[in-house]
């Protein structure tokens, strides 16, 4: 049986967090009544003209810096022509042959292994409006559609990857990393489900060893990381089955349906548009000086790659935790602030508790690091108790869980649970002596060499101290007293 290699390229559209649209000063605020964030320009009224929003350019440059691209000193806007009711001018102002950024790369981590995925280009373009279909869930079966142009003209950047991705897992890792990057540099909210980040996957297969790429199909409607993985896996299976049964993959656009888990054909090559790109005559070519490009770099938030280096080298945080610290912007912000406020607690300890238990407890509460009731000071104070050994790890988990639930101060919770960890030998000694005297048969076993039996005695001591005794100290004392 032929072994196939999967080849995937990702096309991602990121909605930029500018206050106003790409070519007019309408607000980009979400959730307004239909057709209220509109003006002659984004409505495509006769006589209207586009004027470029400079913040969009800055954000596109930030993305270019973050992805290691070459920022072009001259780039040109182009008209991409096609008819659709959500496209008021009948053309989209985009960039075609001379985009603002070229080249670059992104490092992903899958199963602990790092891999570099090439970036082909980044360009700016305006978003279309929205169609709300009436009488059915989607366009099929609907009897009319309502056009809402609030979104028309919102700035987007399109990030195109090289076809370097080789699996659905890699594609997912790519998206997760890209999402965190655009969030961290402050240009995009990065929500797949809300549509501020949109992904299309170009998927093809080829027999292992073949140099030429197979025909690719474009898969759309991937609005969660899970959908993305499932869709790609389905598509790969579909293409392999097709080829194995003697068929050929045709170049087409396919839609992923999360309910069925399948991709279906949307339109074929014959129906594909000839966009008739030509340079936008209403806008001059965009010329950037190196000084301008450099200033954007200086002013932008710290790149994830720079943080990564800092966390590894300066903080000595293990790679797995570093990776997690860079996936969620709220988590990262909370981490950085906690490190800032802490004098004695090591960043590594802060990280360990945050990416592990803290995250899990937040998830149980349906909260995140932005909404949590636990203040940085409370968290640091908690970690100080852990660090000093005043409370055990096990106790710490319980305390932290309560903190997440109620936002109560850790010392209050520690008091309530009956005090902190007992590590005073004197205090423990009397308890241990009592347990030993009540379990002479077990003591005999230990004396005979079955040191494992000490565990039973440990359990009894922990029970007697309501879990507060310091476990390794208890164990050591039991052994000392019995041997």
């Amino acid at each position: 049986m032929t072994q196939y290699e999967v080849v995937i390229g990702m096309e991602v559209h990121a909605q930029l967090k500018t206050k106003t649209k790409l070519f007019c000063s309408c607000s980009t605020d979400f959730g307004k009544a239909p057709n209220t964030n509109v003006c002659q320009v984004c409505l495509g009224l006769p006589g209207a003209l586009p004027v470029l929003n400079e913040t969009t350019v800055k954000y596109a440059i930030r993305a270019g810096h973050a992805l290691g691209c070459s920022i072009e000193h001259t780039s040109v806007f182009s008209r991409k022509n096609y008819f659709y009711p959500d496209l008021p001018k009948g053309y989209q102002i985009s960039q075609f042959d001379l985009p603002i950024c070229l080249g670059g790369s992104l490092t992903i981590q899958v199963d602990g292994e790092e891999k570099e995925i090439g970036i082909t280009r980044i360009h700016m373009e305006e978003d279309a409006g929205k169609l709300v279909h009436q009488g059915a869930d989607g366009i099929a079966g609907s009897d009319s559609s309502l056009v809402d142009l609030n979104r028309a003209g919102t700035p987007l950047i399109e990030i195109v990857s090289e076809p370097d991705i080789r699996s659905a897992a890699e594609a997912r890792a790519y998206m997760e990393t890209l999402k965190s990057i655009v969030e961290f540099i402050g240009v995009c909210d990065g929500n797949l489900d809300e549509g501020s980040l949109r992904a299309d996957a170009n998927v093809s297969i080829r027999p292992v060893g073949q140099k030429e790429f197979g025909t690719r199909a474009e898969v759309k409607n991937l609005n969660s990381f899970r959908s993305l993985e499932r869709a790609i896996n389905y598509e790969v299976d579909r293409q392999i089955a097709l080829v194995e049964s003697g068929g050929t993959v045709i170049q087409e656009t396919r839609n992923y349906n999360d309910a069925t888990g399948k991709t279906t054909s949307l339109r074929g090559k014959e129906d594909s548009h000839d966009y008739r790109y030509f340079p936008e005559p209403d806008l001059k070519p965009l010329r950037l000086t190196q000084a301008y490009i450099d200033d954007v770099k200086k002013e932008m938030p710290e790149l994830p790659s720079v943080k990564k280096e800092r966390y590894s080298s300066d903080y000595q945080i293990p790679a797995g935790d570093v990776h997690k610290l860079l996936l969620d912007l709220d988590l990262n912000r909370y981490f950085e602030k906690s490190v800032e406020l802490s004098d004695d607690v090591a960043p590594g300890l802060i990280a360990k508790w945050m990416v592990g238990d803290f995250t899990a407890y937040l998830k149980n509460q349906d909260e995140d690091f932005a909404s949590t009731k636990v203040s940085h000071t409370q968290f640091i104070s908690f970690l100080t108790e852990i660090d000093s050994g005043k409370i055990s790890g096990k106790m710490g988990k319980d305390i932290l869980e309560k903190m997440v639930k109620t936002g109560t101060d850790p010392d209050k919770l520690i008091k309530e649970s009956g005090g902190s960890q007992i590590s005073d030998e004197g205090e423990l000694s009397s308890v241990i002596d009592k347990i030993l005297s009540e379990n002479q048969d077990v003591v005999a076993k230990i004396k005979a060499g079955k040191t494992k039996s000490a565990d039973f005695l440990m359990g009894q001591v922990m029970k007697a101290t309501k879990g507060r005794a310091k476990p390794d100290l208890v164990r050591q004392m039991i052994l000392d007293k019995t041997v």
């Binding site: 002659q40 409505l43 495509g44 009224l45 006769p46 006589g47 209207a48 003209l49 586009p50 004027v51 470029l52 008209r79 022509n81 008819f83 009711p85 008021p88 001018k89 009948g90 053309y91 056009v147 000839d274 008739r276 790109y277 030509f278 005559p281 209403d282 806008l283 001059k284």
Partner: protein, 480 residues
Amino acid sequence: MIPALIKKLKNRELKSEALVNQTFDRIDSKDEQVKAFLSTFKESALEKAQAIDAQLDAGDELAPLAGIPIGIKDNIHIKGKVTTCASKILQGFKAPFNATVSEKVESAGLIPVGKLNMDEFAMGSSTERSAYQKTTNPWNIDYVPGGSSGGSAAAVAAGMVPFSLGSDTGGSIRQPAAYCGVVGLKPSYGRVSRFGLVAFASSLDQIGPFTRTVEDSAYLLNAISGYDPKDSTSETQAIPDFTKAIGKEVSGLKIGVPKTLLSDKIDSEVRDSVVAALDILKAQGATWEPIDFGYFDDALAAYYILAPAEASANLERYDGVRYGVRDDASDYLRKMISKSRGTGFGDEVIRRIILGTFVLSSGYYDAYYLKAQKVRTLVIQKFNEAFSNFDVLAMPTTPTTAFKSGSFSEDPAAMYTADIATIPVNLAGLPGISVPCGFSKEKLPIGFQIVGKRFDEESVLQVAHAYQTQTNWHLEEALS
């Protein structure tokens, strides 16, 4: 004319209300024949006039042109008034915003009295392509006024308004100015804002004035020029006081005249008038000589690729979804769009959209659109070369005088050659003016064109005015 009007208004010899009433009286008596106006607004015009009169009576210091009526081509938005672009697809479309030039016209105190007829979406050279009415040449009702700003030219030539605004993409101000015996100025590309001008070809369109005298056009140019942040193609060039160019002597100025436009490509009467005009300038101390230019045919071909290409995209917004005509009977989207456009657009517009779409399509872009852009660069370079030796260029505005209405109904493309002398000027973004310089045997006007370096309207006005001080062609009135 303007200086006299300004004086009389200021010393209250003349009231603005009287001027406006006079305008409407003339429209009533003459426009049934000329058919220059698509719509008029007597009420709002009188209101404005009365307000200005009150201020002038009180001795207020007003903008220089305050109180004078003006006509506006129907592709320029006046907020709240209908803009049709002489097309059925925009029938009844009320402009929701003011064009920048309309704001400037208002700040200048000028009083718009109505919207003027044109070829549909500015595509044409005769105004016969208007979906509403055919404007006639005030000098002879059987002849066209030229186009696409035929209504703007005719209204001034017939004495209905002292001046008007038109737009010029390939000659649409200068050619009708020549056919109607008035002055028509196309400023440099980027000199006047295009915001609120319904686009035909974005890299070629400019708004400009029609007047009886060159001096008046300098006043209007002052009023409408200037960088507009709402138009990314408008330029930040400083605006000189263009009226200071009026009256400057031309001795020592060097005028280049493309040989090709003195050949038998040009009607002999037109040629003779233009040469006579050049000799008048010579008598004033300027010098002129024939030069090789050589790109007129190529420029014409390039224009009829580039302009339709840009237009095909600019007119995609007329899809029946948000405004304009919509074919409500259609039951699915593609049908709705194509029927709305098919019935809303006239033949010439459809012809150019199809042509423009073709030259941009996959497989043809390089051979047509890209090549035409390269020719455009050659034309620009040729002009630069000519201007390194000459201060201005002069030539006939058109190869012939106005033609009879219906002349090109069998062969629409043959009309395109009417713009041979005007088109290259748009391709290069240069300023050009047409000035009346005579009449044919049939008493049809002849115009000659003066072209300057980019942003050198001053030299253009200087030379044109100097010529006008020695002639009376511009004082003749059609339909007096």
